[in-house]
């Protein structure tokens, strides 16, 4: 791990078939919560083993216990949130959109047990993974607040409590994802305010992953978000986003995506090397992390593994060229 260009991944991994099946069985009440939880742990162990085998530096637990990044938390905030009906996301895909029904309040740890389990399986650091308060609120219906600002601030207090629990448990990296952040530029201050509440006073290094948005227009606000590391997708835009960092000095850490998660095609090592070199034009290796563009859950297990192997091979080649190994 000398000198930088550490490799990691954004968060989710594809669920093995047996787990996808078990989740379905559980929703039909054919298997118990206990039986499902055992399979989630089995799959988590496989995700950790895969990342160790591929040779990543900072691991994720893979989110085997989560269906949807918002619903996972909403389901546990039983006093203030409910899971609503199906809403279409795109094409023939639907999700259950949560509803805020009362004053948001942290009821107990939601992610610590699974993090602890994943961390117990490896000596490499495993990231704690949270959904940001702005995204939690933006992707839920609100039948209680009628005021987005208050809802986000209360949700931020909930997520801060959760982050503090992960911190206490020993997580060295805590990632707070805000994929909804770049949707509305006029609310970037609210995104930032929410994140500053979540990350306040943590020992862990904090990260936020931003995607889908009009990144260029929101650039100034995004780089000022109160986290130690910004994680962005760059491969799927032909690395054009990096140009923004050329113009403005960026003092934090940057994790850049070098494989496109929405595409089946496995990138070549040469392509990824070229991408990393572009990253190195704007960031020193000590502050540059290499990962996929986004969570890998939309790929098959084999595609995810192949993409990660190419990524690690490319990083090794660049490290050799720079005399880092």
């Amino acid at each position: 791990m000398s000198g930088g260009l550490l490799t990691t991944s954004v968060g989710s991994f594809p669920k093995p078939d047996y787990l996808a099946q078990a989740r379905n069985e559980f929703s039909l009440k054919r298997i118990s919560r206990q039986e499902l939880a055992e399979l989630e742990r089995k799959a988590t162990a496989e995700v950790i083993r895969l990342q160790e085998d591929v040779g990543l530096d900072i691991l994720v637990h893979g989110e085997m216990e989560r269906g949807d990044m918002v619903a996972y938390f909403a389901e546990q905030l039983t006093e203030s949130m409910a899971i609503g009906g199906l809403v279409r996301s795109y094409g023939n895909r639907y999700y259950r959109k949560p509803i805020i029904t009362g004053k948001l309040r942290w009821q107990g740890p939601m992610t610590v047990e699974m993090w602890r389990y994943a961390q117990s399986l490896t000596d490499k650091p495993v990231k704690g993974m949270l959904t940001g308060p702005y995204t939690m609120v933006d992707w839920s219906f609100d039948e209680y607040y009628g005021d987005r600002v208050q809802a986000v601030l209360d949700m931020a207090a909930v997520m801060h409590k959760e982050a503090a629990e992960l911190d206490k448990a020993g997580a060295r990296y805590i990632q707070v994802d805000e994929p909804a952040a770049s949707t509305r530029l006029d609310e970037m201050d609210l995104v930032s305010q929410g994140l500053s509440i979540v990350t306040q006073g943590l020992q862990a290094k904090t990260i936020t992953h931003i995607c889908y948005g009009d990144f260029a227009r929101a650039f100034q606000q995004i780089v000022n978000l109160p986290v130690d590391q910004l994680d962005i997708e760059t491969a799927n835009s032909g690395y054009d986003l990096l140009e923004l960092f050329r113009r403005d000095r960026f003092g934090k850490e940057l994790a850049m995506g070098v494989v496109d998660v929405h595409n089946r095609r496995i990138e070549t090592v040469e392509e990824v090397v070229a991408g990393i070199r572009r990253g190195l034009e704007v960031m020193p290796p000590q502050r540059l992390y290499i990962d996929p563009d986004c969570g890998l859950k939309t790929r098959t297990w084999d595609e995810a593994e192949a993409k990660l192997r190419v990524m690690v091979q490319a990083v090794r080649q660049v490290r050799r060229e720079l005399g880092m190994d």
Partner: protein, 324 residues
Amino acid sequence: MLTTVVGNYPKIPNRPRPPKLRAAISRFERGEIGADELRRVEDEVTLEVIQEQVEAGVDIITDGQIRWEDDQTYLARRMDGFSIDGLIRYFDTNTYYRQPLVEGPVRWREPVLVADYEFAAKQSPVPVKALVTGPYTLAALSANHHYGSLRELVLALAVELRNEVLALERAGARIIQVNEPAILQQKEDFPLLRQALEGMMDGLRAEAHLYTWFGDIRGLYPQILELPFAAIGLDFVKGPANWDVIARQPFTKKLGLGVIDARNTKLEAVEEIVDLVRRASAVVTPDMLYVNPSCGLEYLPREAAQAKLTRMVEGVRRAREVLA
């Protein structure tokens, strides 16, 4: 004062009702059923959502756009000049559509919406309006790899989509609604929008409606009243500034009053709806009002969508009594 909807309706219900359309599309994609069988299920679901709108008491309905994967690709896939690319976020929602790519001259081949309109109109006991995505919005939400400018693409689409509008009119559509939400995001393009729509709607005898959503018309008023439409639909939920805007000058057309929040499950109270209608009545006489949700209903679960419509109709009934 009539009630209507803006466009789409949720495609699948929640348990215990079966998600027929989702299942049929999956089976179609796996090659287990053919296009005819898929069409049959689409017909069946269209009948269900017509029934739900009628049950709620809505005066003028749509076919729910059950067959549309989104407002862009349903047209783009059936015209020449487009291919369909990757997923992209629809405005500020958490809903995504596949972006049309313009790769050659756009050309209307044959009616896209006429059979859908005829089916719905024949089956519905209340009037059905036909919906067309406007040339500006279709262009703005596509990637233009062929024309030299957005302007050229918009004007070309207006010429082609005119064929669709005329075909709908010939098929008997008495209300034809053109949707142009994208203009609220790029207001400086208003002269282009005007030129495109003036050409596209020229000489049309059907009652033409222009609907917008997810914003306000600050900066477009009163010019928007000069466009060749009998009614203009505005979103007062995401565009609360519309209240002040329409109070500034007489609103000389029918107003599509989008005051029922179609992006949140929380039901408006009847009295709240009465107040909103009363507020609008200060600017537009009640007989010039269409009361409707703020946008299409697909951002809600199916049952919540119907509950919203039922409440809207209750509110409007009460408003009619109060204002009479």
